[in-house]
């Protein structure tokens, strides 16, 4: 009844209000609940708006004066961003990338300490440009062209044996020596190692099948490059550098732990690969004291059959026991829709618990928009297998029981906006289902999945999409702060390590805030 500009009221209503103000207020409350009266009370409206705002991600964050200053600046920047004719989150990332790069919000997000990146894949963490300019320029690098217009690589001290369905091997140093300009060659190699395209992405990738096929082909193309021991080591170090430069202080990497080979064709086992990750991480940390570290989630392709999966889980348990510091746990990778569901592997996945052996799970689940299929049960099954987090969880909002379990148990969803857009689960990122999860502060973190594959890098592009697209005008600095804190709180680090990481993050955060509010 408290309209800011009071409209003319009937005498009867006015009299009631004057004579029995308490009764009128009581009626207001009652009427609001029962829905009888239809004159909204602006104070009550304000209270409901505030209530909703306080429920969202970051809604309970208390901001310091300096943070409030930065928040006001961000709000202004976002208002300007939303007025742009080409609104980046509504566009395909491939077409929006340049716009995002020039956005003042993006510059700020790059500088912002974002905490950890908890959902990133080993073979797509480092820029493709680095891989081509650095990896393929090494001596003994051979390349062939497949029948399916892709490429394959091998490093070898001798001329390698021909691959089926591939042209004769070409020694790249010989080829490059014959070329006046190697730019075209390098660009053509790069285009085979990523799904990024300058052309219209809708035309190039009309369906989910097409984008997934290209995606898996690009992994095959880079395989021989990145599994060559010297490249493998430098690729990982360079990946850490790229995330570190993007102000990411911690990484949890889904890694296939493939056989790594040397120039003479000899190979290393998984333990060697895991150990190498550990060694390089330690080197990196000693050179960058404000980097907190990296842990590995050993991941196997879901195309494996039951007996392979059983062996792999056995091996994962052993690795977890032998490398408890660097190994975070286990996951399956590859397209869910075309793979076997988690439940198909239930016997293998039950082994650790049956044996009382620790093997934390970090399952991809719900990276689908097909409802009611067997694969669509992965979300519930991941939770029943006590998964520590949920990779993607795109379908979670359509699964109220799984959503409730995830919330109750604090099982965070790893939201990867650009990845979901590129794989055609969602077009306009304002419409990403995680926006609904954020409106209820569901446990979640933002990650970048396969940044190099998507022509992205680090975490800032995905933070941009989450902040401007999924969050809209509603998300503020508290939202960003909570997401950064979430990335530590929902990591696989021990409670004590989390406290240390948070303390480190807080110092960097305070510096960031003070440097951007002058």
């Amino acid at each position: 009844m408290f309209v800011s500009k009071p409209a003319p009221r009937s005498v009867r209503t006015m009299l009631l209000l004057l004579q029995r103000p308490h009764a009128a207020v009581a009626c207001l409350l009652w009427c609001c609940l029962t829905g009888v009266l239809s004159i909204p009370d602006p104070r009550q409206r304000e209270a409901l708006i505030k209530q909703e705002a306080s429920m969202q991600t970051g809604g309970q964050m208390v901001l310091t004066d300096a943070e409030q200053q930065l928040d006001a600046l961000l709000f202004k920047m976002k208002q300007e961003e939303i007025m742009r004719a080409d609104f980046p989150p509504a566009m395909h990332f491939f077409q929006a990338r340049t716009l995002i790069r020039t956005s003042p919000i993006f510059s700020l997000l790059q500088k912002m300490p974002k905490g950890g990146a908890l959902h990133v894949h080993d073979l797509s963490m480092t820029s493709v440009e680095w891989l081509v300019k650095n990896g393929t320029y090494r001596p003994h690098c051979y390349m062939c062209y497949t029948d399916s217009q892709s490429i394959r690589f091998i490093f070898s001290s001798q001329w390698p044996k021909a691959l089926p369905r591939c042209s004769p091997w070409i020694l790249l140093e010989n080829l490059r020596a014959k070329l006046v300009n190697t730019t075209d060659l390098d660009n053509s190699i790069m285009s085979n190692l990523t799904v990024f395209t300058d052309q219209d992405p809708e035309t190039v990738y009309p369906t989910q099948d097409v984008i997934w096929d290209t995606f898996e082909e690009a992994f095959l193309a880079m395989w021989g490059l990145v599994t060559y021991a010297p490249v493998f080591r430098d690729y990982y170090y360079q990946g850490l550098t790229e995330f570190y430069t993007d102000n990411v202080m911690y990484l949890e990497l889904r890694a296939l732990l493939p056989e790594i080979y040397e120039l003479d064709g000899s190979t290393h086992d998984r333990a060697w690969t895991l150990k190498t990750y550990q060694d390089i991480t330690r080197n990196f940390m000693s050179e960058h004291p404000d980097f907190f570290g990296a842990r590995i989630i050993f991941s196997v392709h879901r195309a494996a059959n039951v007996s392979v999966m059983t062996r792999v889980v056995e091996e994962a348990m052993k690795l977890q026991k032998d490398f408890p510091d660097v190994m975070a746990g286990f996951d399956m990778v590859g397209r869910e829709d075309s793979g076997k569901p988690l439940w198909y592997f239930r016997d293998a996945l039950s082994m650790p618990a049956e044996r009382g052996v620790t093997l934390p799970f970090f399952f991809h689940a719900g990276e689908t928009d097909l409802e009611g299929t067997e694969v669509d049960q992965n979300l519930l099954d991941a939770l029943l297998f006590n998964s520590s987090r949920i990779g993607h969880g795109f379908a979670l909002i359509r699964h109220p029981v799984a959503k409730g379990l995830s919330r109750k148990r604090g099982v965070a969803v790893e939201v990867c906006p650009i990845s979901n857009q590129v794989t055609k689960l969602v077009k306009d990122l304002r419409n990403h289902p995680a926006a609904a999860l954020m409106s209820e502060n569901h446990p979640l973190v933002i990650s970048s999945d396969d940044p190099a594959m998507f022509g992205s890098s680090g975490l800032s592009y995905d933070f941009y999409e989450a902040f401007v697209g999924l969050g809209g005008m509603r998300s503020n600095l508290g939202f960003l702060k909570e997401l950064a804190i979430n990335s530590i709180r929902y990591s696989s680090l021990s409670v004590k390590q989390q406290e240390q990481a948070l303390a480190l993050w807080q110092r960097r955060w305070d510096k960031f805030v003070s440097e951007n509010t002058l």
Copy 2:
């Protein structure tokens, strides 16, 4: 612990199970709640899957034997539909229309008694082909071409006065008399009265702005045709026929109640228009005894200013009083994102309650993907103004407080899948936010908004998208049944009328089920 194919278990676990089965079961329940154990119990899993299924729209429906038979048939049909290379709900409706038309599920949905269509607009209820073949072929029909490449119409006994920014008037009967073949002309007229296109819709409508501009231009184009009294009457009758033929038994029509004109230029007021709707509805019902009727939601464009809105609400209250049978209530139309928010008109909208006068509201709200804007508050405000239903509510899943109120009060969301796709709120309809609402059986109905404008008709196309796209493999006959019942339960009909409508619907439903299970 009850795995269907038991995996090898450690002796310790087996012994525990054999020695203390009750303790093991108790532990299982406890462990599931606390998330300690990670061996899922298949029975518990089954129970959770069933629990989730029972929560969804239709999840509590008890099906008769015959209905279960039909349900099994539908399940099979849907499995085949989902295997199609071109999955219609993942495609733009303009490109999917032919595929849908040839789908066996669609044929069944056409025959299915769908109850009422509660969100349909007056000027887009009838096919454009009818309008051109019937409306523009009448005598005295003049057309001109606007500078913006659209068209305008007028019927007049005299040569009409030229319109600004339009070519000289052309008398269509003269023009057609000169043409050997009028097909091209008719097709060109049709294309101006709809947003449907045979070309790539992404190219023709790259942004929401472009589609909305074309949309509003098409309404302007048909204005002079459908506001001519003889066309107006026949257009409405034909619209009822099209919905009736599509097995829709009841309609609530958002109507602008425009001034309707006669050949001599004289005009009728809103009361006349409303009365005409009432008369024609009665005629139609007398000729089609199994059609239950139609009611009008008087709607004004939200571009109106406050003083116009105040006058219109005054008029709406009078119409509601004078025509309580046919008038259902009041709404505002036009694009929310570019209009004033509901709260801007709060004084005008408060008048009915202040005066103790009945004027039910049926507000469009949340037809947006911009979060945190003033317009984005329309959902909460519609509920605070005690709206009887919510038009679209596309953004509802991002507003937990508004969602809670809508659920608690039984304020149904009018979900219009094809409309939301055409206006570019969502691309792949499997990803429509109402899928999440359906997973919790949120109060909702399916409607078609502007079928003629989208190249659709009646309600079956939208039911197809809701059933196959939003519902996925999960939605069944119970889902369809509940949606049909919802369309009566959430209508503006009195409780008694609803009972009558439900009885009529049930007779038609039983007949449909028995005819399709032989």
